[in-house]
């Protein structure tokens, strides 16, 4: 199960109906999106009317919705994690990363039993994780960082919603997960041993469009990014307002939104330029990630494109 879907599960059902009514008129950019703090700028942009008619949002409940629609060609782009984007791309729908919405700095966590005090102590233990989600990425990166071979631990591939039960039963020594599961684990006696803030600039959420559309609708892609950065400014610089709106949309409290905002880094335009540059961070991480996923058998083959991202669509400046 995907993280964003987990978060989105508590959403008002009305959005699904709204999202599927996206239209095709004048060939605007049909963009798949689902609730996640990193994608909030686009929701805010829509709410304040900063989204031009050349972009329509296809609102889903989780990343899976966006991935399926992308593969079927029903949408032209989506907000996804970088590994999800790689999966879709390798699956046959060629994608291009045109923007970075957020970098995880603590949103993804490894919660362990109290007796495990160092990463080294993980050797020989049973670690639960949903390998097809971003938690899998955290776990694989964590093991690589700690120098632990794949065979030295037992990875239990478990859907996120079964983590709490498995933890309670004592089947697991450690769990790779994210909020709010992480807090639940801590409440059940777990300890945060490792989180994504210790893997700087590794876990990304990105805006992707199909290469086909990028070649045709360059103007719409720019409009999308301009709207994203306008929304981002409101989200970051006017938290007095934005936390209430995000909380309202996600059905949570302003305080929860505040802490969610603290667990992600929302790169501004300049940072985006840096991330998306040729041989920039996204390009390198995407290659490493795709090789790792291939090694683990999670994708059939690694990325085989010259460029997986393109900074060309970023606006010159934010109004």
């Amino acid at each position: 199960m995907h993280r964003r879907r987990f978060l989105g599960a508590s959403l008002a059902a009305g959005f699904a109906a709204l999202g599927l009514s996206g239209c095709d008129a004048g060939r605007p950019l049909r963009f798949g999106i689902h609730p996640w703090i990193g994608y909030e700028p686009l929701y805010l942009a829509e709410e304040f009317g900063w989204l031009p008619s050349s972009v329509t949002l296809q609102k889903g409940q989780s990343a899976l919705d966006s991935m399926e629609l992308l593969s079927s060609g029903a949408i032209d782009g989506a907000a996804l994690t970088l590994d999800e984007a790689i999966r879709v791309h390798v699956d046959g729908t060629e994608l291009l990363v045109v923007g970075v919405t957020n970098v995880s700095v603590g949103a993804d966590v490894l919660v362990v039993k109290k007796d495990i005090e160092t990463l080294d102590a993980l050797r020989g233990r049973r670690i639960g994780a949903e390998m097809s989600s971003v938690s899998g990425i955290l776990l694989l990166n964590l093991l690589a960082t700690a120098g632990i071979e794949r065979g030295e631990v037992t990875i239990v591939d478990l859907p996120m919603d079964e983590h709490v039960a498995a933890w309670k039963q004592g089947d697991l020594d450690a769990v790779a997960c994210y909020e709010p599961t992480a807090s639940a684990m801590v409440g059940l006696g777990g300890v945060r041993l490792f989180d994504s803030s210790q893997l700087p600039e590794t876990i990304f959420d990105v805006l992707v469009v199909t290469r086909k559309f990028a070649a045709l609708g360059q103007g719409s892609v720019r409009d999308l990014l301009e709207a994203h950065f306008a929304g981002l400014r409101h989200l970051v610089r006017n938290q007095a307002d934005s936390i209430y709106r995000v909380a309202t949309r996600q059905g949570t409290s302003p305080a929860a939104v505040r802490s969610a905002l603290a667990s992600v880094m929302l790169p501004d335009l300049a940072s985006n330029q840096r991330y998306l540059a040729e041989n920039g961070r996204i390009e390198r991480v995407a290659r490493d990630l795709s090789r790792m996923l291939e090694r683990e058998g999670l994708i059939p083959r690694a990325l085989e494109v010259d460029r997986f991202c393109d900074s060309e669509f970023l606006p010159r400046s934010v109004a």
Binding site: R237, N238, D241, Y244
Partner: protein, 759 residues
């Protein structure tokens, strides 16, 4: 506490003694200003506990001052305040006017169990106003607001309305009523149709007036989870607390820590309806708002200095500069080109004007322009004589080919309009009436969208050529039709052209004549050419032969033809056939010297010859005889048998006598039946006598005339020469005549010598 007070008092006194010491450091109280967003008594009542709390925490009396906008401005200007709590918009204005330490803390308001550090604006109207339901309906309505400097009481609403398409500054009458309470009263009383208040006010007032919320209607209501108040706009950070720079940093620190220490259950918080203070919020959104609405402190557009302008917009500026330079350059270039063009045009015009060949422009068949040469050709002085008139005006009624000038010109112009270039020979009448010939070219000069093309007309004066042509034609006609043969040769005498008469006379074809020599006299041959060269001409008569070998007489005159350098370049010969002339001449000569009947020399020739032989005899001392012969009984024969018979007899007798004489002797008929003979070179008299005897005999033989034999005789007298005395011919002939007469007397048929008696 007391010790601390004394110490600080002593310190303050010390500092006061120094010039420029700040008030706060020297004063014994901290002045805390609060912006009066509600009526002052309410404000004092609510916030006094906060002042008291601070007094207790920092050990210096904190004096609360509730100030409206104007009062706060004045107090700040004279440093009458040390801290202040005001709305974010007001804060921005103050911050822009003087330096501040920055925001110390942001107010956190409390409503029921909820807390918030955000505020917003409420747009409302009376519940019974059905015509106002959305933001767009606010257009044109009277709006009550506490004041333009209120963030939640004016600016937040103004931005929301602006984004909904309503410009409150322009589209609405705004009543500024100085406080939120009056706004609500004003709307409920109907003095204003729409009211703007900040969040929280309605809820506060509703506590004292339970029916308030049911009497009003909120516009553009935002549904925000966790936000305790009704709100119509987006949210902004709550009020900031700020310290002025003159305040001692220790006091600032203590005040800040006291503010942060406030918990929601503190009496100070409860009384003011707040939850406490939070770390300073990001007020940038308020700045965006102020900029967007162009309200203080961003109501004036910042006057950019040049250097700033250049720094900020150097790309645009340099682009504009480059464009301006390009434009200037282009204009200069265009100007220069225009001048060049004008000069070029002038030069071209002068060139055309002074071009020696006449040139004109025609439009609709009439002249619109002409150069000097054209005027001169037609004999006019000013262009006005030509302009506006057509070509036919200056032409004779008819052209030499017989067509009417005007009709012919219309036809030609039709061709030109169809795009042809026409070349034609045209006769013009000059102003003095003389006729000239021109070779005229008419060419269309087609401009776009021009149904009537301009026609360029140029003339070439060919009058002299025409005259020369006529002259040549005449000459050619003369050459062709002359009765005399004419030939032209080159310098070597070889024929290059001949006329028809030449062919006719010589019998040679033109082709065979050209390239050969013309007929020339046998003895001189081509020498005649050098004669002609020397004297300018040669003329003579000679015999030539026709092509068939027949000889003919010709009279030739050969002249040299001179070129422009007066050197002979050709020869021209004219000759005529004079064969007949020559024949007639010879006949005439025969008639003058011979007897037509007997073809014997007549008396003239006889006398002539006598002179010759006499001269010869004298020179050579030879003897000659002059013999006079007269026929006897000739008249009866003539009478009896007719003149014809007589003539026959004479011819026969003459022939017989001639036969008896030698070649060198002469026999002549002097007339009728009288003959005379000259016998030269007589060696002996016997020879003469023998001759005379033979003559008598010859005459006496019968002659057959008219079918019968007739017999006549002759009487002959003679004389000899030279004689003793010199004689002329007549005398000699007379002597012979006398001797003949003597012979007649002696019985005829005998001869008798002069001066002798015997026969």
């Amino acid at each position: 506490m007391k010790r601390w007070l004394i110490a600080s008092l002593a310190f303050a006194l010390l500092v006061l003694a120094l010039p420029g010491a700040t008030l706060a450091q020297g004063s014994q109280e901290v002045r805390f200003g609060i912006y009066a967003y509600r009526p002052a008594p309410i404000m004092y009542e609510r916030y006094q506990p906060l002042a008291d709390y601070l007094t207790g925490r920092i050990g210096i009396p904190v004096k609360l001052q509730v100030l409206d906008q104007e009062q706060m401005r004045k107090a700040l200007a004279s440093n009458q305040l040390d801290f202040f709590l005001t709305n974010p918009s007001q804060f921005l204005v103050i911050r822009s006017e003087r330096s501040l330490t920055g925001v110390l803390a942001t107010l956190v308001r409390r409503y029921g169990e909820a807390e918030t550090a955000s505020l917003g604006g409420v747009i409302f109207t009376s519940a019974d106003r059905d015509e106002i339901a959305s933001l767009a309906d606010v257009h044109g309505k009277t709006v009550a607001s506490p004041g333009r400097h209120f963030l939640g009481g004016f600016q937040a609403q103004a931005l929301e309305l602006k984004e909904a398409g309503v410009d409150v500054f322009r589209d609405n009458r705004i009543k500024l009523v100085r406080s939120h309470d009056r706004v609500i009263r004003s709307v409920l009383a109907g003095a204003a149709e729409v009211g703007f208040v900040r969040t929280g006010i309605l809820e506060e007032l509703a506590e004292g007036d339970g029916s308030l919320l049911s009497r009003i209607k909120i516009l553009n209501r935002q549904n925000l989870i966790g936000f305790p108040y009704v709100v119509s706009t987006r949210l902004y950070p709550e009020w900031p607390v700020a310290a002025l720079p003159h305040v001692d940093s220790d006091i600032v620190r203590r005040v800040a820590s006291a503010l942060f220490a406030i918990e929601s259950e503190f009496p100070a918080a409860r009384s003011a309806g707040i939850a406490g203070f939070a770390p300073p919020a990001d007020y940038q959104s308020v700045e965006y708002l102020a900029r967007e609405l162009r309200v203080e402190p961003y109501d004036q557009l910042p006057s950019l200095s040049w250097s700033e302008l250049v720094r900020q917009y150097w790309g645009w500026l340099s682009a504009i500069l480059v464009l301006l330079l390009l434009l200037t350059g282009a204009m200069l270039w265009l100007g220069r080109k225009k001048r060049e063009l004008a000069v070029e045009q002038q030069r071209l015009r002068r060139l055309i004007q002074s071009w020696p060949q006449p040139m004109l422009m025609l439009r609709n068949g009439a002249f619109v322009d002409s150069n000097r040469a054209a005027l001169e050709l037609l004999g006019f002085a000013v262009p006005q004589s030509l302009l506006g008139k057509d070509i036919a005006t200056f032409s004779p009624q008819t052209q030499p080919d017989g067509s009417i000038s005007r009709q012919k010109m219309q036809r030609l112009l039709g061709q030109v309009r169809a795009g042809e270039v026409v070349q034609v020979e045209w006769a013009f009448l000059r102003s003095d009436g003389s006729q000239i010939w021109v070779d005229m070219s008419l060419a269309p000069v087609r401009e776009k969208d021009d149904s009537q093309p301009w026609v360029l007309c140029s003339w070439y004066d060919i009058t002299r050529r025409k005259e020369a042509e006529q002259h040549l034609r005449l000459a050619a006609s003369v050459f062709d039709h002359a009765r005399e043969a004419i030939f032209i040769t080159d310098l070597h005498g070889l024929v290059i052209d001949v006329n028809d008469a030449y062919v006719e006379i010589t019998g040679r074809s033109r082709a065979s004549a050209i390239g050969g020599l013309p007929p020339l006299p046998l003895e001189e041959g081509p020498g005649v050419f050098s004669g002609a060269r020397k004297n300018g001409f040669w003329s003579g008569e000679f015999v030539s032969k026709r092509a068939n070998g027949e000889p003919f007489n010709m009279a030739l005159t050969l002249s040299g033809v001179r070129d422009e350098h007066d050197a002979i370049s050709h020869f021209m010969g004219i000759f005529s056939d004079i064969t007949r002339l020559k024949l007639q001449e010879r006949e005439l000569r025969t008639m003058a010297h011979y007897d037509a009947l007997t073809h014997l020399p007549n008396r003239v020739l006889f006398t002539d010859r006598m002179q010759q032989v006499m001269a010869q005899a004298r020179r050579q001392e030879q003897l000659l005889a002059v013999v006079y012969i007269d026929l006897d009984q000739f008249k009866p024969v003539n009478d009896a048998y007719g003149h014809k018979a007589g003539d026959e007899l004479l011819v026969e007798v003459a022939a017989r006598m001639r036969a008896e004489l030698r070649e060198e002797d002469t026999l002549a008929r002097l007339g009728g039946d009288e003959f005379a003979a000259l016998v030269v070179n007589i060696e002996k008299p016997e020879v003469l006598e023998s001759l005379l005897t033979r003559l008598l005999h010859a005459v006496a033989l019968p002659v057959r005339v008219a079918g019968r034999l007739v017999k006549v005789s002759a009487s002959i007298g003679y004389t000899l020469y030279p004689q003793a005395e010199e004689l002329d011919g007549d005398q000699l002939l007379r002597q012979a005549d006398q001797a003949m007469y003597k012979a007649k007397q002696q019985g005829r048929n005998r001869y008798c010598g002069f001066g002798s008696a015997d026969s």
